[in-house]
């Protein structure tokens, strides 16, 4: 394996693809490489070439969660999502761009079971141990997306600028299909450079966890009000961050036997989030 240290984002994207992977904070990629879940011939170290810092509504993709959680400019939902994400060290290392691209915590997937999401035939969680798993979009794969930040950005209506395009955060994610098991639309040689997060009138992020801190969400609820419009998004409930069209949409959830309790928690947190904004 080799490590490339490009001097510009163009140089970085030129080196990506074909067994090359972008490395920033490393909190996700390094363990996945060690576990053999991601095969990498060449690492492209992008820490010094991806924008970092906060300027009004614009956030460099290389900004760490620790930098975001103490910044008074960013919307409350995003700040609360950062504050409650992961552990202090992981927040200091991990970037917001990387956070959006993290993989599920599904234990079957993480332990390398030949599951549907890995390209196999079946989802082991659906018939197996799945209390931390999905209540939406879980027909093929019951994994839950763990990003608190993605839910906050969905509710806030953030947009992304990559080396190729600008688009809504919602368009970063796709439910995996039989033909393509990936959960994002990012191309192998595409880098997230910057986010634009419009300032809402009010926003919040509420998170149910198994511990008071340093846990992935059982259910995370982000809600934002902007020009009279209210948007709700959930973390930990579907293979991708999940936009909830209305509180009533929770009744359309398709929980597994072991995840029905998540619907109940989501109802309470959605109601509280709406009350808070």
């Amino acid at each position: 394996m080799e490590l490339l240290q490009p001097s510009s984002s163009e140089e970085a994207t030129g080196a990506l693809g074909n067994g090359s992977r972008a490395l920033a904070g490393g909190t996700e990629l390094v363990p996945l490489m060690r576990d053999g879940l991601v095969h990498v011939d060449r690492l492209v170290y992008i820490r010094d070439v991806v924008p970092r810092g906060i300027d009004g509504s614009r956030i460099g993709a290389g900004t760490t969660l620790a930098e975001l959680e103490v910044d008074p400019q960013i919307p409350q939902a995003l700040r609360e999502a950062c504050t409650q994400a992961a552990s202090p060290q992981l927040r200091s290392m991990g970037t917001i761009g990387g956070n959006l691209l993290q993989a599920t915590r599904c234990w079957y997937w993480r332990l390398g079971f030949d599951c549907w999401l890995h390209g196999g035939e079946k989802c082991f969680a659906r018939d197996g141990a799945h209390r931390e798993h999905a209540i939406f979009g879980n027909e093929q794969c019951a994994s839950a997306h763990p990003s608190d930040i993605a839910a906050a950005l969905l509710a806030l209506g953030a947009t992304l600028r990559t080396t190729r395009r600008e688009f809504a955060v919602a368009e970063l994610y796709r439910l995996p299909t039989d033909d393509d098991r990936s959960v994002t639309t990012l191309a192998p040689d595409e880098l997230i450079l910057e986010l634009d997060v419009p300032a809402p009138d009010a926003s919040t992020y509420l998170k149910a966890m198994d511990r008071r801190k340093w846990s992935f969400p059982i259910v995370g609820v982000a809600a934002a009000r902007l020009d009279g419009e209210i948007r709700i998004a959930l973390a930990g409930v579907a293979p991708i961050p999940w936009t909830l069209d209305s509180p009533a949409a929770l009744e359309d959830a398709t929980p597994l036997p072991g995840t029905a309790y998540k619907v109940e928690i989501a109802r309470a947190l959605v109601r509280r989030a709406l009350e808070a904004i």
Partner: protein
């Protein structure tokens, strides 16, 4: 040969890409005060500071450290926090303790008199299986005594 700045001194190392900072510190350079308890970024035992920022050395690739200053427990041996941890009994088996001190040192550097909430927020990534947490809180609350 690539170099690391560790506790104010320069050390060269020879390692393949992919090797962790923790591995180089412990196995190659003899800084065994840094412990590895999970090896995958979940427990905080391997915490060192990079330019003052608490960082998990077990999932930091050594070749990405660059010119950042590495501070390990060996560089904090005379920090007043060390005496505070001993005085308050914030140590049982001691395996997580160096990592706790490294995180705590970064906390008090930024905020000399942290509140209970601030301590709990900053220290929540350093797990302790023996349950020394109440004493750790006391040590950080009273480190200047």
């Amino acid at each position: 040969m690539p170099e690391l700045r560790i506790n104010g001194e320069t050390h060269s190392f020879d390692a393949p890409v992919g090797r962790s900072l923790a591995h180089v510190l412990r196995e190659d350079l003899g800084f065994t005060g840094t412990k590895v308890a999970c090896g995958e970024g979940h427990c905080g035992a391997c915490t060192v500071q990079l330019d003052g920022v608490p960082t998990l050395s077990c999932i930091t690739l050594v070749h990405t450290v660059g010119t950042r200053e590495v501070t390990t427990i060996e560089g904090l041996r005379d920090h007043p926090l060390v005496a505070a941890f001993v005085r308050t009994d914030a140590v049982q088996c001691g395996f997580c303790t160096p990592g706790q001190v490294v995180s705590a040192a970064a906390l008090v550097e930024a905020n000399a008199s942290p509140s209970q909430d601030e301590i709990r927020h900053a220290m929540s990534g350093n797990l302790c299986r023996c349950g020394t947490y109440p004493k750790i809180e006391e040590a950080i609350r009273t480190w200047q005594d």
